[in-house]
Symmetry: C2
Subunit: 298 residues, 2 copies
Amino acid sequence: MTPKTTASSGTPSTRPAADPGTTRVRIAVGYDGSGFSGWARQPGRRTVQQTLEDALCRVLRLPEPPQLTVAGRTDAGVHARGQVAHVDLPAGPWAAAQDTAQRRLCGILPPDLRVHRVGAAPPGFDARFSALWRRYSYRVCDDPAWADPLRRHETLWYPHRLAVDDMNQAARACLGEHDFAAFCRRREGATTVRELLRLDWSRPDREDPTVAVATVVADAFCHNMVRALVGALLRVGDGTRPAGWPAQMLTAAERDPAVSVVAPHALCLEEVRYPPDDQLSQRALATRRVREARGTGG
Amino acid sequence: MTPKTTASSGTPSTRPAADPGTTRVRIAVGYDGSGFSGWARQPGRRTVQQTLEDALCRVLRLPEPPQLTVAGRTDAGVHARGQVAHVDLPAGPWAAAQDTAQRRLCGILPPDLRVHRVGAAPPGFDARFSALWRRYSYRVCDDPAWADPLRRHETLWYPHRLAVDDMNQAARACLGEHDFAAFCRRREGATTVRELLRLDWSRPDREDPTVAVATVVADAFCHNMVRALVGALLRVGDGTRPAGWPAQMLTAAERDPAVSVVAPHALCLEEVRYPPDDQLSQRALATRRVREARGTGG
């Protein structure tokens, strides 16, 4: 099992058609990102992709680790409760293992990575391209004197009180399809146009009113986008910037040095939503067309 | 700062009266118990008491660590969100430090131990003896396929589905004042009579119905009591034992080998409740009397 340095998903045009001798398998996973250098395989690093591919290799007794395609390529330190991936497995070994695969994978995986479900994917399913949207959460404690040490690995301790109403006002003005270049790390030739479907803050924990959580939903995210949006909104919440500031930066459509990217450990991929099974192929096709029209990002 | 092996609180009869040159200070703390060998100082071990006493010593520039008295002496691995302690500090150093003590303590304490509040205690306050009751929670995921890895350090992964209604029926029969010897590690000369005020289960997390949480309230707890009660109720919940079993064992008033003590990492001291300030002395006196009548435990 030599580490692979290739990305988990090719660009649309180079993706091969499904091999008839393989079964496409859908996998739902959750992980505590603290001990991983992110999702994507990197030589010499402990990553989620490598850990999971190696476990699949072992459970299915494959000659080499199969290659996963993932819905959300999380950065180092970022968590997931609702990550989704797919993998094309040789039909024979999969058929032999499918009934016990979930249990056996959980038996050999470390406790910070759990496979919730694994099973044959419906026709046309693509973990990355069939997705309608991704939902992330970002957890902030704005009164660190009362910070809960039990959840410190998934919560930002912010030293100023946050006005949730002001952050929500600022957030509303960012909704819709925009070029999020101001909030993204630019990649050569990649688009930064995304559709932001939801961005709001609440204090969901009755037992702990010091915790504010952002819910962020978009068709897809470019690199650093959630953490930069949250960084901008925190400056609104603590009164440093006016509520109109994040939307104003958006119109500039350029990376703004005034936007700080907040820490990864409070970010979690909560859910990836797919359309009904009979629309999976159509959705994958539509996504590819949109990405090509926007440029090769996402 | 040599480690002390003495207990954090003497027996009622040997406890010295407050020194007029000292100020009694009340401290509210929370900790992730994963990295601590419990509350109580032990030579060569990292404990909450030692870490906090050493930090107080440093912030107040005392010649040696002051001695804390705690409401709930948690075992190794057990967490606390609502722990309370008191300490008698020399009045001068305390007066000089009081305004900045909370912030400075949090500045030097490790992130798995937080001081939420520190201030002069009202007259008659005793963290241990003034308490009306202690409230613990015990968190169980009964569908480990869906276990959340982010909260694995505070959740028991139980391999069988639990019938919460059956556990609640069993729990109700244990309420009231009883000799909990069947559920306690016996200590020589110590009573195991306690008043169990609340014991029930619910699935409080709308987002995660695989998690059942026990709420356990008693005037005080003897050693292992919560974890043994939970262990008995889990056997009811998974259908191994009838709902009448825990109460039946209670009447035996002897340690029952059929009761397993569940793992500590899912147990958390959530709250310690005290009476209004004008009843603190009276309550401490009453508690001491009850303990003496029952025997010297608790």
